[in-house]
Amino acid sequence: MKRLKFSKEACIGCQLCAQACSAMHEGEYSLSKARIGISSYYDKGKELKYLDAYCTLCGICAKNCPEGAIEFGDSLALDSGKCTGCGTCGPACPRSVIKYFNEKPLLCDTCGGAPVCVEICPHGALKYE
C-alpha cells in the first residue's frame, strides 16, 4: 500500500502542501482546514525544528471510531451519514493530523491516489510510495 513519506532534510517549511490540500478539499487556501500539517520553525532562533503531521494510513482513527464511520482501505474515507462528530478520532490520531471543520473530521483521502501535497512539494520532501 502506498503511503505519504516525509523527509525533513528536503522541507523548506513553505506550507504549500497544506494550502493546496485545503484548496482541493474545502475550496479555500487555509492551514486550519488542511488534512496535513507540515511546517518548520526556529526554536528560539537557534535550532531548526519541524512539525510533521501527515497521515501514514495507520488506521487508528478508524479502529477508534465508535460509529464505524471511517472506512480504511488504500486511504481514509468518512461516511458523513454515520459520523456524529463525537471527536474521538482526532485525539486518537498518534500524529495529531486530524482537524475538525463543521464538527466533522478532515481525513486524508490521498486525493484518490494522487496526493496534491506531493505534487506541489517544491523540493520533494513529500513522497507517496
Binding site: 517549511g13 513553505c14 504549500l16 494550502q19 487556501y29 520553525y41 506541489i120 523540493h123
Partner: protein
C-alpha cells in the same frame, strides 16, 4: 475583485481602538496590492511634511491578491511608512510567514496610526486585536523577543518585531520576522519604535478563496514547475545570494574598503563554499517554492544567509575576510535590529575617516572585533555609536568626509559598485526610497549577462525605466524578487486567475509606471527633486584601481545625461518633477 479579503484593519494605537473597513477597491484596480497600494494609502492619508516620528505618521502592512494562495514565492509582506532616514516614502518587502497570517486573519492590510502611551505590542488574532504591555520585552534583542512571543503565541503566529535600534529611533533600524528576515531599509523599525510598538503578532485561522480554485491551483503548480523551479532561479536554493560574491568580484563591482575599489583578492576566504560548509538546514518563507534560506552555525554565530549584501558590507567593504566574523556581525545586526547594508556602510565610512585622519572614530579597516561592538553601540546610541547612528549623511555633515559618504537622500549604498555598472548609479539616484538595488537592478544587464555596455550613459534611462517598471509590478503583487524569470505576461495571468478578472501585460505596465509616479509624487510633495537625485562624489572623482572596470569613473555629465533620459521617458520635467497632468491620474 476576488482574491482580496476586502478588509483593512485600522489600529489607533493612541486610543487602543481598532476598526475594519472595506479595501479601497478602486485603488486596488490601479495599484494591485503590496508596494503600490501601500504607497497609495500613504499618499492619500499622510499630510505633507509629516514628521516620520510623530504620532501622525502611519505604518502600513499590505498584502496583495496573491498572498495566501499557492502562487509560488507569494508570501512576502509590504511594510511602508514615511522614512525617518530619508524623509521619502519607504516600503520594504519582508519574508517569513506574517503576510499569509494577516491575510488568513481576514485582512488585506493593517494600518497602524498614533502612538501607544507606553511600550507595548499588538496581537491581531483573526477579527480581534489586543494591546499588550511590553515592559518585559523593551530593551531586548529581536531574537530573544521573538523567542518569548513564539513561546506565548505558538510557532504558527507571524511575528514582526524590533530590536534596540528601533526602540532608540535609529534611522537604519529594521523590522524582523522569523528571526532572520527583515524589512531592512529606511528605518521602518524606528517608526515602529516611535509608536512604542515592540512587536506585532498575527494569528490567522481563516483562509483565502479565489475563483475556480481547483483549476487555478493546478495551473499554479504547473507554473511553479515550468517557470519558477528552473536553474536561473533555483541557484538560491543551492547557495542563496552568496553566489553573487564571485560574480561581483569577477565583474569588478564588489565594494572594497568603503567603495575605494571594486574587487577583493581575499574573496575566496569568505565565499559561499566556505560559509555553506556550515549549513545546518534550509528554510523558506510561506508559500515559497525556492527556499533561499541557509541556516548556518559557524564559529559562535547562528544566522540565516548570510546574504550577499551583508557579506559584502561586513566583509570586503570593511576590509574583513574572516567568515566567522562576517556571520557574527550579521547575527548581531539582526538581533540589534539594524539594517546590515546601512550599518555596514557607516562603519566602513568611519574606518576610512579614521585611516585618513579626518576624524578618529577609533576603528580601522579589518578591525572585526571592534566592528561587532560598534554595531551594539549604534543600536543603543551609546558612545561613538551615537554619531554613527546618524548614518553616513548625518555623520559626514557633522565630521566631513562627504566625498566618500556613499548614499542617496540619506540611504546608504547597497553593495553594487556603479563605476563598473553605470546604470546602477542612475537606479540608486532615482529609487523612491534612496539608494536601493531592489527598485532597478542593472548588473544583470551590464555585468553578468553583459548584454548592455556598462561604461556609458547611452540607453541607461530606458534600461533603468524598464527594470523599475518590472520590479514595481512584481512588488505590488507581491512576489519575491528571487523568482527572477517571472515575466510580465505571467504576472498578468497570475493576477487574472486570483481576481477572476482579465489583466493584460499592458495593464501590468500601466500599474508599474503608476507606482513609480505615485512614489515620486509623494517625494515631490515633500520637497524632493532633481537636486536630490545624486551621485556620491567618489564615483565621479576617483577611478577604480582593479578588476575589469579599472580606470572607470562616472563623469558628472554622463550621470546628468542618464537622469535626463529617465525623466524624459516618464514625462517628468527637467527638474525631475511629475507634472500635474500625471498626478491627476494617480
Amino acid at each position: 475583485m476576488q482574491g482580496y479579503q476586502n478588509s483593512v484593519l485600522r489600529v489607533d494605537l493612541s486610543s487602543k481602538e481598532y476598526t475594519s473597513e472595506p479595501l479601497q477597491m478602486e485603488w486596488a484596480r490601479k495599484y494591485i496590492g503590496s508596494k503600490g497600494l501601500a504607497i497609495k494609502y500613504l499618499y492619500e492619508e499622510l499630510a505633507p511634511k509629516t514628521d516620520p516620528f510623530s504620532a501622525e505618521n502611519k505604518l502600513v502592512l499590505m498584502t496583495g491578491p496573491l498572498t495566501g494562495t499557492v502562487v509560488p514565492c507569494s508570501g512576502k509582506l509590504a511594510i511602508a511608512s514615511k522614512s525617518p532616514a530619508t524623509g521619502t516614502i519607504s516600503d520594504a518587502s519582508i519574508g517569513g510567514h506574517s503576510a499569509v497570517r494577516l491575510k488568513y486573519a481576514g485582512y488585506d492590510a493593517a494600518i497602524f496610526e498614533g502612538k501607544l502611551p507606553a511600550p507595548g505590542y499588538v496581537v491581531i488574532r483573526n477579527d480581534k486585536v489586543e494591546f499588550k504591555d511590553a515592559a518585559h520585552l523593551w530593551g531586548k534583542g529581536a531574537h530573544e523577543t521573538e523567542g518569548l512571543l513564539s513561546a506565548e503565541y505558538g510557532h504558527g503566529a507571524g511575528i514582526l518585531c524590533i530590536g534596540p535600534a528601533g526602540e532608540n529611533l535609529v534611522g537604519m533600524a529594521c523590522i524582523n520576522s522569523d528571526y532572520y528576515r527583515q524589512a531592512g531599509r529606511g528605518g521602518l523599525g524606528a517608526v515602529m519604535g516611535s509608536k512604542n510598538v515592540k512587536a506585532i503578532v498575527v494569528i490567522g485561522d481563516g483562509g483565502v478563496k479565489i475563483p475556480n480554485i481547483e483549476k487555478a491551483t493546478r495551473r499554479f503548480i504547473e507554473i511553479m514547475k515550468e517557470d519558477c523551479l528552473q536553474e536561473d532561479n533555483t541557484f538560491v536554493y543551492d547557495c542563496g545570494t552568496t553566489a553573487f560574491l564571485e560574480a561581483c568580484n569577477d565583474g569588478g563591482i564588489l565594494p572594497y574598503k568603503n567603495f575605494s575599489d571594486a574587487t577583493d583578492e581575499n574573496w575566496v576566504k569568505y565565499n559561499g563554499d566556505v560559509l555553506l560548509a556550515s549549513k545546518a538546514g534550509k528554510r523558506g518563507c510561506a508559500s515559497c517554492a525556492l527556499g533561499c534560506g541557509n541556516f548556518l552555525k559557524i564559529g559562535d554565530a547562528t544566522v540565516e544567509g548570510p546574504e550577499y549584501e551583508s557579506i559584502s558590507a561586513f566583509g570586503p567593504n570593511a576590509g574583513v575576510s574572516d567568515p566567522e566574523a562576517i556571520a557574527k556581525a550579521n547575527e548581531i545586526a539582526d538581533d540589534m535590529g539594524l539594517d546590515t547594508i546601512s550599518a555596514g556602510d557607516v562603519i566602513s565610512w568611519a574606518m576610512e575617516m579614521t585611516e585618513k585622519g579626518v576624524h578618529d572614530f577609533g576603528i580601522k579597516f579589518g578591525d572585526a572585533a571592534k566592528y561587532q561592538e560598534y554595531l551594539k553601540l549604534m543600536a543603543k546610541r551609546e558612545g561613538v555609536g551615537a554619531d554613527l547612528a546618524l548614518g553616513v549623511k548625518g555623520a559626514s555633515e557633522k565630521y566631513g568626509g562627504e566625498g566618500f559618504a556613499l548614499h542617496v537622500k540619506g540611504l546608504e549604498y547597497p553593495q553594487y559598485e556603479p563605476r563598473g555598472s553605470w546604470g546602477m548609479s542612475l537606479a540608486y539616484a532615482v529609487s523612491d526610497r534612496g539608494a536601493c538595488h531592489m527598485r532597478a537592478y542593472a548588473p544583470n544587464e551590464e555585468v553578468f549577462a553583459a548584454s548592455i555596455p556598462p561604461y556609458t550613459p547611452e540607453g541607461k534611462g530606458q534600461m533603468v525605466y524598464g527594470l523599475a517598471v518590472h520590479n514595481a509590478i512584481k512588488f505590488s503583487l507581491c512576489v519575491c524578487d528571487f523568482w527572477a524569470t517571472l515575466e510580465k505576461g505571467m504576472m498578468a495571468e497570475l493576477v487574472s486567475l486570483v481576481t477572476g478578472e482579465e489583466w493584460t501585460e499592458e495593464d501590468m505596465n500601466a500599474v508599474g509606471e503608476r507606482v513609480i509616479n505615485i512614489a515620486r509624487a509623494f517625494n515631490q510633495r515633500e520637497g524632493f527633486s532633481r537636486k536630490d537625485d545624486t551621485i556620491p562624489g567618489r564615483l565621479v572623482a576617483e577611478a577604480l584601481k582593479s578588476g575589469p572596470a579599472a580606470g572607470q569613473k562616472i563623469p558628472q555629465e554622463a550621470f546628468e545625461d542618464m537622469l535626463d533620459q529617465y525623466y524624459g521617458i516618464l514625462g517628468w520635467d527637467e527638474n525631475g518633477m511629475v507634472p500635474g497632468s500625471i498626478i491627476d491620474t494617480l
